[in-house]
């Protein structure tokens, strides 16, 4: 070979230039306000060597610190020292249930899973979950619940719960279980009965199972998340996932009520129209402003795009083979919440404690972003409703979960309305349930 090393080096540098065609993840997200509402701005998808990431270091709440609420409202800790609280549910007698859980151990499928594990540890999201439900009662003058019992224990990564008559349902990550409940009970010791299996391991990428019951009590709806970001674990792993199940309460039989919802982490019936509404977490790694998470009414038999497309017919370039027939039928969600806010809980407000402008609308708990710079979410927002539909931009209500240096003191998850009309917020980083009320006039 008579090639001079210098010539060789020049050819090599040209090759490297070819390889550097992708972004290295320096993309900065735009104004989230452009992505809130019925017609969010959607940029072109991008591919990265290292997707944009920004982790808020987890620091927790200092003594006496609380989140911030608007003038005329106040916030107190209802309970602290919980074990990764994710969901709050109010029983008919006013008792507050707090579901404490975290993800089951995830398998390592690719080297990336190892890195993601370290990232999540840094963000404080790998804390041990209680796998139990705590009952809170008797709020004292300081706002703290004086009675606190273990309502149910030895569960398996539970998330959604619902009471129908005397049947208390818990949606574990891998099964829907029924327990007997008597009014006023502070603890259930009776064994549960499995109503139906739910898609669980061995991957269980999105492990939470949201739950709500129909108003006539005959059906239960379960929100089942996908087993991957965009079906990179294969089609078989996604069987009956990324969907909202309708389970028959009497027999345990189920059908797919709606599909193509990547991770429907909250289900509620809108009080005025009786329609089922859901919040959903959309996909990652195609940009800081893609894809906006959303709040939407759920159509029986509706398909919402995942994984093939988003927001109707916007194709995801990473999914092959495509399904043009499904993409053509994909429904555009009703209301975008902006990208990577991670909505993990929502509740319609019908109480009289908080100011009247909140009546009829929905509070949404936004857990907050990890794959976006600057951060998004980390707050509870309010979406006004009118005639059963969203009627304006989302307003920040409970903030201060991030400090001035963008470190995370807490992260909101589930929200609920208690018997007195106060807003309850589960905070899984602060291990606290917050209670927001109007200040006494």
């Amino acid at each position: 070979m008579r090639l001079s090393p210098l010539t060789f080096l020049c050819a090599a540098i040209a090759t490297l230039g070819l390889a550097g065609c992708s972004e290295v993840g320096g993309d900065v997200g735009g104004d989230p306000a452009r992505q809130i509402g019925a017609n969010p701005y959607l940029p072109e998808p991008r591919e990265y060597l290292l997707p944009p990431m920004h982790i808020a270091p987890a620091i927790g709440w200092s003594k006496g610190e609380t989140p911030s609420v608007p003038q005329g409202m106040q916030v107190h800790a209802l309970a602290t020292g919980l074990e990764h609280p994710r969901f709050v549910y109010v029983l008919p007698n006013g008792d507050v249930l707090v579901v404490e859980a975290n993800a089951p151990k995830a398998p390592i499928n690719r080297p990336k899973d190892i890195i993601m594990g370290w990232v999540q540890n840094y963000a404080g999201t790998h804390a041990k979950g209680g796998n139990r439900i705590t009952l809170l009662r008797d709020i004292g003058a300081d706002g703290i619940a004086r009675t606190r019992t273990v309502f149910l224990d030895h569960l398996n990564s539970p998330f959604g719960v619902a009471l129908v008559g005397h049947d208390f349902y818990v949606a574990n990550t891998d099964a829907l279980i029924r327990f007997p409940y008597e009014d006023g009970q502070t603890s259930i010791t009776a064994p549960g009965t499995k109503l139906t299996d739910l898609p669980g391991g061995p991957i269980d990428h999105h492990w939470t199972k949201s739950l709500t019951a129909s108003s006539d009590g005959t059906k239960l709806y379960v929100g089942v998340g996908s087993n991957s970001n965009i079906m990179e674990n294969g089609l078989v792993a996604e069987y009956e996932r990324a969907a909202i199940w309708e389970v028959d309460r009497a027999t345990g039989a189920h059908r797919i009520f709606a599909s193509g919802t990547r991770n429907p982490t909250g289900l509620q019936f809108e009080p005025q129209t009786g329609k089922l509404w859901a919040i959903a977490n959309e996909r990652d790694e195609i940009g800081p402003d893609l894809v906006p998470d959303y709040l939407t009414s759920v159509r029986d038999g509706g398909f919402y795009g995942w994984p093939y497309s988003y927001y109707g017919q916007h194709l995801d370039p990473r999914v092959k083979p495509q399904r043009p027939d499904l993409v053509a039928s994909a429904i555009v969600p009703d209301y975008a919440l902006s990208s990577h806010v991670a909505p993990l809980g929502f509740a319609f407000y019908g109480g009289t404690n908080l100011p009247g402008s909140y009546r009829g609308g929905a509070f949404v708990g936004e857990h907050g972003s990890w794959d976006r710079n600057p951060l998004n979410g980390y707050k509870v927002v309010f979406v006004p409703f009118s005639d059963g539909r969203p009627s304006g931009p989302a307003q920040d209500v409970v903030t201060g979960f991030l400090d001035s240096e963008n470190r995370a003191r807490g992260r909101p998850v589930g929200v609920a309305v208690d018997a007195s009309g106060a807003l309850l917020i589960a905070d899984d980083l602060g291990d606290t349930v917050w209670r927001v009320t109007a200040t006494a006039s």
Binding site: M1, L3, P5, F8, L9, A12, T15, L16, L18, A19, G20, C21, S22, E47, Y48, L49, L50, N109, R110, P111, K112, S228, N229, I230, M231, E232, N233, G234, E285, D316, P317, R318, V319, K320, P321
Partner: protein
């Protein structure tokens, strides 16, 4: 008895370490090229998972091979005087940088983890390795680096 002027510096009982280790990353990077082709042909993500593990394993073992090779290259001026040695070092350095980029590309989700950038990089690395393997063999079988006379 080794040819003293071209003796390997990193050796175990006269057996040079670099040529012991070097087949593993070569096999891994070639394997990743094959599994990328298999993914392109089948659209089955299992093959992409194979590729990314082969790339990762290849780079880890290549790290040790590089250390042994650099000890020889830096530690013996007679090896450094050989032209094929420079092609071998520079070519392998470029192959490893491309493989690192390729590992990041393969860590994306879905189709774009391989097509087109991942497959292009895997192909380029295999082509470069054929070239550097030729120069490596040339160092041993024509010039006698590390070989006993």
């Amino acid at each position: 008895m080794q040819n003293d002027s071209l003796r390997s510096v990193a050796h175990v009982g006269g057996h040079p370490i670099h040529p012991m280790l070097v087949p593993f990353p070569i096999a891994c990077f070639f394997g990743a090229f094959v599994t990328d082709l298999a993914y392109w042909w089948t659209d089955s993500t299992q093959w992409e998972t194979f590729s990314v593990w082969l790339l990762s394993a290849g780079m880890v073992i290549a790290g040790f091979a590089v250390i042994a090779g650099l000890i020889d290259f830096i530690g013996n001026k007679h090896i450094r005087a050989l032209r094929p040695a420079w092609f071998h070092v520079l070519g392998n350095a470029i192959a490893l940088i491309l493989s690192l980029i390729n590992a990041f590309v393969h860590s994306r989700d879905g189709y774009t983890a391989v097509i087109p950038t991942g497959l292009i990089l895997s192909t380029l690395v295999v082509l470069i390795l054929m070239f550097t393997a030729w120069s490596g063999w040339s160092m041993v079988y024509r010039h006698g680096v590390g070989a006993s006379v």
